[in-house]
Amino acid sequence: MLKRISFTVNEREVSMEVDVRESLLEVLRNRLGYTGAKKGCGVGECGACTVLVDDTPIDSCIYLAVWADGKKIRTVEGLAKNGELTEVQQAFVDEGAVQCGFCTPGLIMTTTALVERGEKLSREEIKRELSGHFCRCTGYKQILQAAEKCLHGGCCKDDGERQINREEN
C-alpha cells in the first residue's frame, strides 16, 4: 500500500510515494541517501537512528515514514553549512567525543535540539537528556563534556580530572 507524502529533509522539499510499511529510517537511508542516521537495535533503545522531526529528537526506526507527512526532518547531513561544522559538531571533535562514530550522528542531533531549546540544564539533566543513546565504545565522559561545552559555554570545571582521563585513554 503506497501513500504520497510531502515533507522537508534538511530544508529540501520532498514529495514521494512511500510504502506504509516503511520506517522513516528506511526511507531516509535507502531511498533518499541520508545514511547519517544509523540502524542499530531497530526497537528504539539505542538512539543511533535519531533524527529531528519538527526540531524534536525521535527514533526514526520506530517512526513510520507516512507519519513524516507535512513535517520538517533534520539529519546530521544538514548541519554543516559550506563545509563549516556547527558548534555542536566542533565540540564533539574538540572533546574527542567520537570513537567508532556509530552513535555520533544521533547524539549530535539530540545535543543540537537541546542547544536550540535553550533551556538551562544541570549536568544531571544533560545526562538524562542524552540517556536515549548507547555508546558501545563507552566514550560517555567525552560526550558529556562536548554537550556541556555547547550548553554551558565550556565544560570541565574539573580540568585536572580530565587531563588524567585523557592520559589513561
Binding site: G44, R128, G132
Partner: protein, 294 residues
Amino acid sequence: MYDIKEYYEAENLEQALETLAADPGLTVVAGGTDVLIKMHHGRIEKARLLSIRRIASLAGVEKEADGTIVIGPLTTFTALSRDGLIKENLPILAEAALSMGGPQIRNVATIGGNVCNGATSADSAPTLFALNARLVLKRKNDERIVPIDEFYLGPGKVDLHPGELLAAIRIAPEDYHGFGGHYIKFSMRRAMDIATLGVAVTCRLAGGSAFADVRIGLGVAGPTPLRCREAEEFARGKAVSAETIAEIGRLAVKSTRARTSWRASREYREHLVVELVQRALKTAVVRAGGMTIA
C-alpha cells in the same frame, strides 16, 4: 519493513469512532512505541492499523472550572513532564512521566497508549491509580467512565470494548487537592529500563501531624497495577511517625501478588514494597506540608 497489511489515518475523533465501529478488529496506534515493537518481535502479524495521531483534540491538558484535570490520551510523556498544569497540580505525574524510557521515546509515546497497553510495568499506572484516575471511553454514540483500577483486567488485558477508544483521563480535585506525592521507579538502570517495581504514594495530612488519607499505587507487584487498600485503611487518622510508616510499608505487601521473573524474585519485590513504600511516603509527607521523618 513492518508487517502492515492495512493502514488508516483518522482525521478527527468522530471519524476514528466511525472507522472502529465498522471494523473493531483494527489495532489503534498513536506514538507507536509499543505497537511497532510488537510487530518487530512478531507478536503482531499482518497488522491492520488505525492511526489516531493526527487527532489534535485528543492531545493536551486542561483544567475544568471545578478543578478536574483532563489529560488527553495523545499527550506525550515529554509534554506531560513539561506541562504547567501538571507540574502545578499533579507534580507526581510529571515525576513518573520523566522516568519512562528515554527522551526520544518520551517525545512520541503517549499516556493513553501506556494505559491501554495494559502492562503492569506502565510507568504512568501506579500514579494514575493513586490519583483515582477515571477513564472516559468512547465509542460511536456511546460513552462510559471507568475507574482505572477496574480498567486493568490482567497482563496486557484491559476493559476496552470492541470499537472503543480512550478519549480522556480525568483526575478529580478531591483526589489531588492538598496531597503531596512521590513516585519511585526501581530499575537496574536509570534510563531505558522497565520497572522492577513502581511505587506511587500520595498523602494528605490532618492538622499536620496525622494522616487524613494515604494512597499507594504499585506497578509490577502483581499481574496488574494495584492499590494497597489494607495499608491505606490502617493509615487513616494515625499519627505521622516512623512506626506508623513502617507498619504501612509492612501492610502494603498484603495487597501484592508479586511473582518471580528474570528481573527479580518475588521475595525481593516484596522486600522492595516494604522499603520503597516507606521512602515514598516519607517524601510525600514533606510535600504535603508535614515534617521530615528519619
